[in-house]
Amino acid sequence: MFSAFMLHAWIVATLVAVAAGCVGFFVVARRAAFAAHALPLGAFPGAAAASLMGVNEFWGLAGFAVLGVLAIGQLQRAGRREVASALWLASALALGVLLLGLSGRYAQSVYGLLFGDLLGIDTRQMAVVAGFSGLTVALVAWVARPLLLDSLSSELASAAGARAAALEFVFLGILALSTAIAVPVVGALLVFSLMVGPASAARAFTDRPWRSLAVAVGICLATVWSAIALAYVTNWPVGFFVGALSALCYAAGRLRGGTVALAQVA
């Protein structure tokens, strides 16, 4: 389980889990689950486009993630938020289907991009993931205070001089960044399980926002490590265990009487 070819999987998963935990805390606080789902999944045609053009997958993914941030931001202005996410997601995926169809690489690569492939990670990919994870965590630390204030009360935040539109943009940007890195690892569909389940469970364990963030990261790490171990033993896909474990986390949080809204706490 800890042999050389699994080592990369463990390291990358750990990095992704830390970033996902930090971002997930804000996803839960800002009620942005749909955006957290739409951005990573909407980045997936980026990988197809990159393979058509023969560049590294990461740049395609990052490019489409940025495109997603701009599109959702623009569509949000015209209508409501969830419609914006839904329409961006649908058009990105439709484009992805077309690109994959034209490039002729189909079934297996789609499955890998959507549901993840922890075993095929090389050293260069690991370096890119480490860089992006570090950047995500640094950005979160940089905007954490105004972002939290804005999530709890946008009136209070604007009174304190924060610009809501700019903060939303930065938040979506961080979301996109953290998802682009995670796509080849846990897959587009399940990056967001890591963001939503652990962070919502964390609310049940503490009332304090920053402690809650730390707990979220902890649960993320526990989830991803157990998922890899279980996947190694059973030979089933990692994504299944990530999804199931984070649903269990959420259920455990609910049972612990954890519907304590952050808003009442701060």
Binding site: V28, F34, H37, G79, E82, L98, Q108, L114, F192, T259
Partner: protein, 300 residues
């Protein structure tokens, strides 16, 4: 019917068996999605609709494993997910958002497992593409009657609850005062949503069905001033995009020889264009006159 087979080079289009099946099933799906999508968008349940569609993909994957009709797989899983979300009903909007997300994550995880088992146990390799992105021209003709019955059931349920659902969407208190059973209506709507979503998942695929569900309805709500005209417009956009998409995909075999472009791509792109057009119209109109009354309940 066969006389149109001789109409120019589009003649073959109408006489092609897979095309006829696609037109029938796609049309049914578009009709139902437009009707159910309208209340879904107005009730701010776009995320729930999307989640049901994605989760129904797990059912589609299971159908390969069990060797049953894929429509029943999609339906069973969508109904189960709708049941879970209704059962664990939560009042607070934030909590509903999270619950939807968690159900979606777990459902997708299950889909990953089932697709993996499809590949390893049954040696079905194209299942991931078919289930997630649909393949309209490979729908077996035997599905048509079942699909049309499902469509009729969803339409019937929507018609039954149309007025009380509209009232309870605008104001729950008003609906209660009128004696409507708000909880029951919400449950019936969730089931109609599950039916619509599984039909759409059959046609454009599980993760693209959101476009069929949300797009036409959201576009219609941008410009329509009355519920009836919104309904008519949504149905029109949905049908036009679906049938237009099928026709374009059929044509695309001539563009890139030997390889057609996916139907789902054309349908989604037509829907997105309709939405952008509708927002442009709405923006021009809001400059000159009062905004559509229906858009008032879009933004709170």
């Amino acid at each position: 019917m066969d006389s149109i087979c001789t109409w120019g080079h589009m003649g073959g289009f109408w006489c092609n068996q897979p095309v006829r099946v696609a037109l029938a099933v796609g049309g049914g799906a578009a009709l139902v999605c437009a009707v159910v999508g309208l209340s879904t968008v107005m009730r701010r349940q776009a995320f729930a609709g999307h989640a049901l569609a994605d989760v129904s993909g797990a059912g589609g994957s299971a159908s390969y494993l069990l060797g049953i009709n894929p429509l029943f797989g999609f339906l069973g899983m969508a109904a189960a997910a709708a049941g879970v979300m209704e059962w664990a009903q939560v009042r607070e909007a934030r909590e509903r958002d999270l619950l939807t997300g968690v159900v979606l994550g777990a459902g997708l995880g299950l889909a990953a497992l089932l697709l993996y088992l499809d590949m390893t146990v049954r040696n079905v390799s194209g299942a991931a593409i078919t289930v997630l992105f649909g393949s309209m021209f490979t729908i077996p003709p035997s599905i048509v009657p079942v699909a049309l019955i499902v469509a009729a059931a969803a339409l019937g349920a929507s018609a039954l609850i149309f007025r009380p659902l509209l009232v309870s969407t605008l104001s729950i208190d008003l609906a209660r005062a009128q004696g409507a059973r708000v909880r029951t209506i919400a449950r019936i709507h969730a089931m109609a949503l599950a039916l619509a979503v599984s039909l759409a998942a059959m046609t454009v695929g599980a993760i693209l069905s959101t476009a069929l569900l949300i797009g036409p309805a959201a576009a219609a709500l941008q410009v329509a001033r009355r519920p009836a005209s919104a309904l008519a417009l949504a149905v029109l956009i949905g049908l036009a995009a679906t049938w237009g998409g099928i026709a374009l995909a059929y044509q695309s075999y001539y563009w890139t020889p030997g390889r057609g472009w996916p139907v789902s791509f054309f349908i989604v792109m037509l829907i997105v264009c309709a939405y952008l057009l509708a927002s442009a119209v709405a923006r021009r109109r809001s400059g000159s006159s009062a905004t559509a009354p229906l858009s008032g309940c879009q933004e709170h």
